[in-house]
């Protein structure tokens, strides 16, 4: 029996052309037509999520992911369809749980744990592990208004994750905290998953989707466009996002059509590795790293250009290169060939999480992209100094007195 069942769920919002907020306005304009546009935020979505599944929901901004999550969390009512959640549910939506800034961390944790369905006794029993997870032992009796935004989000996330819910709804967790806290969150996800908890996870990070999720769903304009293997769904997402560059996917063909005629080359995998060649999810600052990209050629190609873009968790491109710039022609590849492209680089990144977006393009100015997978792999850099820069380059000061 599924842990979460959604059948034909639809949710629309009325966007009134003129919204009356007071009785006075209504009395003064009794005959004004109450016209509105209907925004179909979630449109006939059906999915069953099994117990213990780590399920990713992706989509562009405004595609209805968060609305769907809010309906599931019992915050919004759906207009049509059915939803059911088996067991206790813990949502982490809009970066947090409902904290009261005038209360101390202690009171807020207890209050929120009770709202999430624990008894007072259970809430008190969980209290220590929540605070330990948030790493806020020294700030227990400080009022939330004096917390930094990062601290309160960490606390909120700790509450959501530590209340022993059967189903977790997590919206955009990667915006939370520094790199080491993010890694901790993912470790916690894995632990919960092993315990048979079900996790629904909304994110823009395709690397995380592919690393953690068993299955993923892509929403576009409220409709479910794609569901299944996270790599495939992430690929569809990139097609939506980078539709103009990946020309093959830009037209509106059905999924079956698209699958029958293949691209000339597919990026099948990407990862970070350390100097020894082992795949890694995190590394210390200044330890050299390499990016590996696996490409399968479906047609013979002459001098394709391989590109690698590294972005930080704020989405800014930190580094980008292509073989075209670095080495020029790459040679001839036959259909059916499977190659690994490896890019070694010095790791001057400051502590944060970074993603790699590999791409392959035809020879030329790189405009004719064959395949591109945004944020396919993620690495967390730790250690080093927290500077305000995105990189900490090797440098030397010299002070000359005249």
């Amino acid at each position: 029996m599924p842990a979460v069942s959604i059948q034909g769920a639809s949710k629309a919002f009325k966007l009134h052309h003129r919204q009356y907020h007071t009785l006075k306005e209504r009395a003064l304009h009794p005959f004004q037509a109450r016209t509105y546009d209907l925004l179909q935020a979630v449109d006939n979505v059906s999915v069953d999520i099994a117990q213990g599944e780590f399920f990713g929901i992706i989509g562009r901004n405004g595609s209805g992911k968060s609305t769907l999550l809010k309906c599931l969390a019992g915050i919004y009512d759906i207009d049509a369809g059915k939803m059911d959640v088996r067991g206790r549910l813990s949502p982490f939506i809009e970066l947090g749980v409902g904290f009261n800034v005038d209360l101390t961390a202690r009171d807020n944790v207890i209050l929120n744990a009770i709202v999430l369905g624990l008894t007072r006794k259970e809430a008190k029993a969980r209290f220590d592990s929540i605070i330990a997870f948030a790493e806020l032992e020294d700030f227990l009796d400080m009022r939330l208004k004096n917390y930094s935004s990062g601290m309160s989000v960490r606390l909120a996330f700790a509450v959501a994750i530590q209340v022993d819910a059967d189903v977790l709804l997590i919206d955009e967790v990667l915006a939370v905290g520094d790199a080491s806290f993010q890694q901790k969150c993912f470790d916690e996800f894995q632990r919960l998953k092993k315990q048979g908890r079900t996790i629904l996870f909304v994110t823009h990070d395709m690397g995380a989707i592919q690393r953690f999720c068993d299955r993923a769903m892509l929403l576009d304009k409220g409709r479910m466009v794609s569901i299944g293997d996270p790599a495939d769904v992430a690929h569809r997402y990139n097609a939506l996002n980078f539709g103009r560059t990946v020309h093959e996917l830009s037209d509106e063909r059905s999924e079956d059509d698209r699958r029958s005629d293949q691209r000339d080359a597919d990026i099948t995998d990407a990862w970070f590795e350390d100097a020894a060649g082992g795949r890694i999810a995190s590394i210390d600052h200044r330890q050299p790293i390499a990016v590996g990209v696996e490409v399968r050629f479906n047609a013979a190609l002459e001098d394709p250009s391989f590109g690698v873009t590294i972005r930080n968790n704020a989405g800014a491109t930190v580094f980008a290169t292509t073989t075209e710039w670095a080495i020029g022609p790459t040679g001839r590849f036959a259909a059916g060939e499977l190659v690994t492209v490896r890019l070694r680089l010095e790791n001057w990144f400051t502590p944060a999480s970074y993603t790699v977006t590999p791409s392959i393009a035809r020879a030329g100015m790189g405009s004719d992209t064959i395949d591109l997978r945004a944020d396919l792999a993620t690495i967390i850099v730790h250690g080093g100094r927290f500077t305000t820069g995105v990189v900490d380059l090797p440098h030397e000061f010299e002070i000359t007195r005249r």
């Binding site: 999915v47 069953d48 599931l72 915050i75 919004y76 949502p91 939506i93 749980v97 409902g98 007072r120």
Partner: protein
Amino acid sequence: MSIPEQAEGKRYSPSAFGDDLRRFVSLTYTLASTDFKLTYFNSILGYFWSLMRPLLFFGVLYFVFTDIFHVGTDVPNYSVELLLGIILWTFFLQATTGSVQAMLSREGLLRKMRFPRLVVPLAITLTALFQLTTNLIPIFVLALIRGIAPTWSWLELIPVVVLLAILAAGIGMLLSVLYIRARDIQPIWDVLSQLLFYASPIIYPVYYYNHHTLNYYGPHCVFNSLSDTVLNTVTGKVCATSSVPVGNNLHLHFIGHFLMTNPIAALIAQARHALVGGGEGVNPSAAFALGGWEFALIPLGIILAVFALGVVVFHHEAPRISENL
């Protein structure tokens, strides 16, 4: 995709009551007690101020109505009656006015978590109830100072407070969801509650319903009409302090009976009857002032009807609260 059987007809929507009574109670209590703690312990003077507010209001009214308008002077134990009226009214006002913007102040919770929505206004009433219990202490102190001996009838205050809380909770539910639809509920309730304040025997005793509604231009000081009183004072006409009813000879006219159907009037009358006493003529019970036990069912019915209406309207609005906020 298989359709699980238990999902049949079930919609996982936000509701007024939720499906777990224990959680509902625990959550209401937690929200109320944290709010209570915030007002009382947040600042050093927290308790002091929340106690001082009704007491200062009492002090001002007591001074104005005994020393300037000589209203209270003909009422035995006017100070106790005034304080009792003010503190019960403060509770009612705090619970209802606090409910108006309750949803807005709980927006953080409402937009992020699933929990029975009705908890929000009920917690406001419960917080006010906590404050009422501490505010009752000065009443008992004053009553003892004035030489009123404690009697078993003081226990009647419990059902009076319970009924007042039910009324306040009912109005609170209505106000909290109506405010989401119409933001001018706030000033409207401000005016309506003022009206209710003066229409209820809070700063005057029940039997004032008689003279001042019927003998508007009679020999007595016209309490409800301050302008007349000021005029009388200026022109040198001294307000008569006569006609304190003695014994059981209070006889309210029809309008008096009618005004007593106001639940606040009935409850405050009953509270004074229980605490201060002094015979049906001075502090009539609600039933006596209404003209019989059977008529006491009218304010009782209004209380229950308002509460039921509150529950129905709230239940209807509950699923859409977080998106309409």
